[in-house]
Amino acid sequence: MTQHQLAKWSDADIIVYIGCGERGNEMTEVLEDFPKLIDPSSNLPLMNRTILIANTSNMPVAAREASIYTGITIAEYFRDMGYNVAVMADSTSRWAEALREISGRLEEMPAEEGYPAYLPSRLAEFYERAGYVKTLNDKEASVTIIGAVSPAGGDFSEPVTQNTKRFVSAFLGLDRKLAYSRHYPAINWLSSYSGYITQLEDWYKQNVAEDMIFLRGEMMKILQEESKLQETVKLVGEDVLPDQQRLILEIARLLKVGYLQQNAYHKEDTFVPLNKQYLMLKVIDNFYKLAKEAVKVGVPISVIKTSDLFYKIIKMKYEIPSDFGRSFDELMNDISEYFSNLIREYEGD
């Protein structure tokens, strides 16, 4: 599902989608949906920029092994023509299993969990085919690989996951617990990482806002702190925490429900442009700063979290359209007004 969303919305020129050991019905879904969806950058059907390698799980195992190479070779072909290509490999675990199956039939000596000993080198060979290049006619082009790994029983310590992590610099860890509570996309914010943040800092400064990366850091701090506090909460309950800490729990909830969680079937929420993302973070950060002040002068947390404003911020992802105009300014004003009133009220007492 996350892969499908990426295939739909990412701003690559060409998408190569490798359904390696995929379900037949899901492939059909892509085949039926993509011609109907319009690519926002070119106004043509999404299908026109998509290449689908359909290898369903009941097709021969040798074809499954080959499908990954077929896909990446097609991608390189378009890269050499000067396009930015994204390869979605769904899923490399199925591919590794195909390697294992063939290796078993060849009666090769098995290594970890029955996978052949050359699994890491094959994975490296595949992932290293991604990159940013200058083509022969001096164009800049790239191949980006988004490989899905589906570890058995959600166990990240199995060989395919571990070896894949060695060769990639950005990792999105999907979390079973989040999926169970239908928090989509179920990307765990603590176990996921990107090795490119420092490299991208300048880009964000020029294209989004000066303080985007700083905001990101602040928000990560809150989420990190929240996960520590949650352990205490599990033992003694939320009520005994001081209000400053409870505020962190509430802000983390805002972040999770209002920002991290996205609804793929909502027309505003399925694709959120970067500058809207920035403003949403800004709103939450602003709310947090002012709420901290308010808590200091003795405003109870229950007042803040049951306010209409709190509810409004959670819903901003739905209610403020992507071409938002002034709505965010209004929301900001609402926040400062609300808190200055609140603080005045409690200081008066």
């Binding site: 599902m1 359904g19 050991g21 379900r23 037949g24 019905n25 899901e26 492939m27 059909t28 879904e29 085949l31 039926e32 359909a54 369903t56 799980s57 009941n58 097709m59 195992v61 675990s93 199925r94 299993e97 294992r100 199956e101 290796s103 078993g104 039939r105 009666e107 098995p110 969990e113 029955g114 589906s150 058995a152 029983g153 959600g154 166990d155 617990k177 999926a179 169970y180 509570s181 239908r182 928090h183 909460v233 599990k234 033992l235 003694v236 309950g237 939320e238 009520d239 429900v257 079937y265 049951t306 509810y311 959670i314 819903k315």
Partner: protein, 427 residues
Amino acid sequence: MVEIKVQGKTKHGKVVQLNNHIAVVQVFENTSGMSVNDISIKFTGKPLEIKLSREILGRMFNGIGQPIDGGGPVFSGVKLDVNGSPINPVARRYPRNYIQTGISAIDTLTTLIRGQKLPIFSGNGLPHNEIAAQIVKQAKVAEGEGEFAVVFAAMGIKHDDAHYFIKTFQDAGVLDKVVMFMNLADDPVVERIVTPRCALTAAEYLAFYENMHILVIMTDITSYCEALREISAAREEVPGRKGYPGYLYSDLASLYERAGMVEGSKGSITQIPILTMPNDDITHPIPDLTGYITEGQIVLSREIYQRNIYPPINILPSLSRLMKDGIGKGYTREDHPDVANQLFSSYSRVQEVKALSQVIGEDELSELDKKYLEFGNTFEYSFLKQGFDEERDINRSLEIAWDILSILPKNELDRINPKFVDEFYRG
């Protein structure tokens, strides 16, 4: 396929291994009475094929498709290879319409879609047979959308279980809409490998030649995999995880992927494979690999069953991957997707509150957490729990869902469009 003539009788076998000049043949029936002197063998040069016609409805066959109900052979010009062939995704139609099972937890939270494969992950001693029987009894497709029939494949199940199914179908008066393929626990294991393939071939015939909607129940996949392991070991193959052959995934896929709908035919094949998880372990290779192929799963929980709740469906790990496109406006009811989402998210919160209350005691919980506990209880006892003969249509299930969601304060319903909250929230 091999035909073996022994003392005037014909037995069947299958080539399982070729090695230089030796062909190893495994016999489907027992090998008693066979000796090197008095048998003649004929290699047919073809895989196993079975004859099919509309008349198979209401009949009972053994694992290799021979009638065992005394009703005589099937006469037909149509003879199909039981191994089928993979469907090209381009030739498929994407499943979009749902099957109402009359069970709230399934209809509302893990909706069964026509053309889907949705396994039941169960354990020994859990009522998976009852649930399967209830689904067969109550399953309905919308009026005027064609005929509905059931293909039942029993692989290594006990005699009493087999009898239970036959009797329940008989009592419900659906027996003449059911085709049965029976391979019981003490029948030969080679036959068990072929059983689901015969059943699916029959299903494909009924769905794609006769345009019927077919529900295939396959039980028990675990016995099937054990059989696969037994034969793999006999062939001296390199074992994979837990001794299962390395091709277990591909082999299961060759069964499960035969569900679906194809262009040019009105029929559909929906599968409900049942598997018992050894030691209730969901990370065991069988449920694990199954989960990667099927479009979701329904997980039963021993803990819930012990609290006297039937059907004991643990909704949190249960999932129907295709329901998103088969529910809501035009299919069930407009508020259905939101309600399902909200139930999942609130019920997962209930689990956190429960864990907390075990540490600090229920009295110490905040008001809101107490509401969540109450919500959790009502959910389990009035939504999840329902009688074996109780049939709830989708409207009824959604109404109950709103009744219990209304236990929670209005602003806790953050997954539901405010429009529906205003329309349906009670109080």
